[in-house]
């Protein structure tokens, strides 16, 4: 029997092969047969979670509460130095310099990345902007969000900060950041669930030891991570409580 591992659909596209490499490495280290399933969107992934098909997941902070409180998942680790931050940007030619100057009715471009969208909406609140008085422009990628701004099809965009920082200089020159979040305690994490819980410590040891040999370091590199760092139960509970305050 093999266990099912899945990755939050908002993973950086360049890292797809990295997750397969990681899964192969993990199986060798732990001796556990694990199948990696990449879902195309949050809805299909959540459905698999609801059907109790998932045993291991690299999860978006938005879904962590459901996994812990309804499905009995526990945290293993998070990538060192990585936190989820959001950016509110407009076209460089837009005279607006503060969210408070934005008017109701504006067109908002965003992706379906749930925690980034949530942080973005919170940063728009000081301008009295909410889902009811903005026009939604859902996008598949952050590059699309940028393109909508450049073409004048959207007025404001919500970006994952890392994705914004990664777009080409030529595009960045034509954009302007209004707000960048500095929250630092909201992050993706690797979590282990029913079926594998008895192996939590073994998995944790493997992950934390990855920097110690060359193979492990190579695998981390293909994921774009420096190292894994342990997440204990209370840190996860704290993040869930924090997310809880932000979803209203």
């Amino acid at each position: 029997m093999s266990f099912l591992f899945t990755v939050s659909p908002d993973f950086t596209p360049d890292r797809l092969s990295g997750w397969y490499i990681f899964n192969t490495w993990l199986q060798k280290q732990t001796g556990v047969a694990i199948h990696l399933e990449m879902y195309s969107g949050f809805n299909s992934q959540r459905e698999a979670i609801r059907q109790d098909e998932v045993n291991l997941i690299y999860v978006n902070p938005y879904d962590a509460a459901m996994l812990v409180r309804e499905k009995g998942f526990l945290p293993l680790a998070k990538p060192v130095g990585e936190s989820d931050e959001a950016i509110i940007a407009v076209s460089a030619s837009n005279p607006v310099s503060d969210v408070a100057e934005l008017a109701p009715g504006i067109r908002l471009a965003f992706t379906d990345d749930p925690d980034v969208k949530m942080m973005g909406m919170i940063m728009l609140e000081p301008g009295d902007l909410d889902a009811d008085n903005m026009q939604s422009m859902p996008c598949d990628t952050y590059v699309q969000v940028a393109k909508h701004l450049l073409r004048g099809e959207a007025d404001v965009g919500i970006f994952l900060a890392e994705a914004y920082d990664g777009v080409s200089e030529m595009i960045k020159k034509q954009l302007k950041i209004l707000v960048r979040s500095q929250i630092s305690v909201i992050h993706h994490s690797l979590m282990i669930g029913p079926g594998l819980l008895d192996k939590r410590e073994q998995f944790q040891q493997c992950l934390l030891g990855m920097t110690e040999d060359e193979k492990g370091r190579g695998v981390l590199e293909s994921l774009g991570f420096k190292a894994w760092e342990k997440v204990d139960d209370e840190e996860m509970e704290f993040m869930i409580d924090l997310m809880d305050t932000l979803t209203i």
């Binding site: 609140e125 000081p126 704290f238």
Partner: protein, 158 residues
């Protein structure tokens, strides 16, 4: 324990009053008309024990309140109580979170230097294995229109 404010910490011209806090505590406070703007993109976070004693604060909390971490940890959360805040707001906060529900509201907070800052606060109970072990409050930047509504409303609640 909560100490009176110290006039030497105050920046600018100030007024003085005595707050009657929970449990019969009194605190002499000094307050000015100087507003510190909410820092863009940040969340101000604190956690208390079940009685409202501060157990954790983040850096933004320290920066905005003007107190050191040592002064904050172990102090009652009313260390930020501003005389312009009606006690009905805090009664509502406590009644709500004690039922296990989320509370959200706009709060004017008092800084160590006598100045103030407005926040939009959300408070949730921290439930661990079915037991309330404390409360967490996360504040975000409020909209100016909401703050102006509160500036009109709150004086009518005394």
């Amino acid at each position: 324990m909560i100490n009176d404010m110290n006039p030497r910490d105050i920046v600018g011209e100030f007024q003085e009053t005595v707050l009657n806090l929970y449990g019969g505590m009194q605190r002499k406070v000094f307050y000015t008309g100087i507003e510190t703007p909410y820092p863009d993109g940040k969340l101000i976070v604190s956690t208390t024990d079940p009685t409202g004693i501060i157990t954790h604060v983040n850096q933004a909390f320290i920066d905005m309140s003007g107190y050191t971490e040592e002064e904050l940890i172990g102090a009652p959360h009313s260390i930020l109580r501003h005389p312009d805040m009606p006690s009905a707001a805090f009664k509502d906060l406590w009644d709500t979170v004690k039922k296990g529900e989320k509370w959200q509201g706009f709060v004017k907070n008092l800084r160590k230097d006598g100045g103030y800052y407005w926040v939009k606060a959300t408070v949730v109970p921290n439930i661990r294995k079915g037991v309330v072990v404390g409360y967490t409050s996360v504040r975000r930047k409020p909209s100016r229109t909401k703050v102006e509504e509160c500036m009109k409303l709150y004086p009518t609640l005394f």
